[in-house]
Amino acid sequence: MDETLLIGLAGVLAAAVPIIFATIGETITERAGVINLSVNGTILLSAMAGFAMAVNSQSVLLGFLTGAVVGALVALIVAFASITLKQSQVAVGFVLALMCRDLSYFLGNPFMGLSGPRVPSMPIPGLADIPVIGALLFRQDILVYTCIILVVVVYIWIFRTRSGLILQGIGERPAAAYVRGANVQRMRYLYTILGGALIGLAGPAYSLSIKAGWKGTISGLDGVGWIALAITIFGGWNPIRASIGAFFFALLQWLGLVLQPSLPNIPSQVLQVAPFPLMILTLLLVNIGNAEWVERTLAAMPEKTRRTIARILRSMRASPPAALGVPFENE
């Protein structure tokens, strides 16, 4: 395989890491029945705070910890306002998305353009020399390794363990989970905060690795959070499918850069946003199976066509947790 292509693909994998962190965090949150719409602001604020901490302490680890704490705190506000105070999750999350963004620009002003520590590259001895796969997977930094492990662990946790089953329960049928002895409110708090901490790792993953440094409004991070939200849906609330979505997104953005020289008539800014129309299209494909008129149209079709189309739609389709965004009262 071509060497430059391999390096490019390895870069795409690294670029997908922050989005995967955020998407996994949001997946856990939404599985518990809570929408945390603040992702975009959380990522920016944790990127700034993590970078500021890393610059002051010269410790990458402390930077990531700060990011996770910031994410957890923002998520705590979402949880408190929506679970305890029963306000609209969407409203609170949206306000936080805007406010945290401005907060990061305001507080991050003194740190603009400073150089800080970076996550070092960490090839795994032995494995790194395997042809193709070594260059792709094992000449990365610790973030990539952590991320891959995280995806697998969260997948197994959600679908193969008892506590993961309870997580699904409080998002699908909170009343039933409650009757079975689950403390729905407390667990929703817990998983929202846990998810928030994971989203908070995405920020430092940018400011200490992928897009090292803090450059205020031109950091190029504004918008990533909204994409992570879309990928969560595209991923059908499944960590593995979601990380494939994140990788695909990073791939498209990279292709945009690579193809730029051969398409001189299209400004680079346009190719950078090329994944978004595709994102809408995939959201449409994922969701259209849920629409009523599609079922009606399908029912009117001849048996054979109906089966084929239904099968295609079903394979792409994803349904949100039934109680997503619905407050729960244990009475």
């Binding site: 949206f94 406010m99 401005d102 507080l107 002003n109 939200l229 800014q269 946003v273 959201l283």
Partner: protein, 348 residues
Amino acid sequence: MNIRSRWLNFGFQLAAVFMALVFTTLVLVIAQGQPLEAYKNIVIGSFGSPGKIADVLVAWVPLLLAASGLLITFAAGLWNIGIEGQITLGAIFTTWMLRGLQDSTVPPAMIIGMGILAGAIGGAVWASLAGVLKTFGGVNEIFGGLGLNFVATALTLWLIFGPWKRPGIGSMSGTEPFPQALWLPQIEGFRLSVWSLVIGVAVLILVFLLLQGTYFGLQLKAVGKNGRAAFLLGIPTSRYQMMAFFLCGAFGGLAGAIQVVAVYHRLIPSISSGYGFLGLLVAMLVNYVPLWIAPVALFFAALNIGSIQLPIVLKLDSALSGVLQGALVLFVLMMDGVRRQFLEKVKR
């Protein structure tokens, strides 16, 4: 609502405003700025001179239009986060119309009028896309809208750097400015146009009447409060949702049109200037009561314009206005929740 609970409500809201101010002051202290100096500069920067007041009003109009439109979608129970893109498309359609007609023999006033109309149509078309995705595709309007926002930005950049680029080389400064004949008439010496004020206020009144005094408004609210029940009672819910999108998009498009014909006189990359998202905050803050939009939007506009002073005088980032705006909405939402819990406890 009786008088006592009204006072109680007012008290909680006042507490929320106070808390937002305390929060913002804390943020200022953390950033090692002087809070009083900062607030003073925002006031001077927004109301300190006739020119500044005019600038505040220039920012007030698109905010009025966006928030008014959003009240319609909120009434129908929809989160039209795609408003940013709708404003952008309005600006694109207006620019397109002006470009097409500027060398023709059509009288300038007519061109401006058609440009503004085109803007409203552009916004409405873009909003309808989000509506179609929602009602026929099952795509949540928040995600459809967000995606369309990004597409709108891409479209703007492509036009500015591609087909509509300035003679020579395209740049982030936008398209070639239109001749002064195609500007909405401005007050001598200011950037403010009385015409845009008239459009903004007229739309606010229109939305107020629509929601408070018409059968359409009543049915729209029924759809928003309980879509299933409204549907069973014979209201075509998806058609009403589509109409809400269409109207909101048209008003958002008007905001974009005014940005082109009255403010920038060309298409620039960030033509919506975040007024759509800010409009969402305003609509939430007024608790969906139309007439409150006017003062709240004015206050938000003043914060935006006043904070431009901060980097110049105090070396602080102008994003402080966004922090205060966000904190206001956040604390008002939270205190509303506290008030409800408090009332429930009293009842027991």
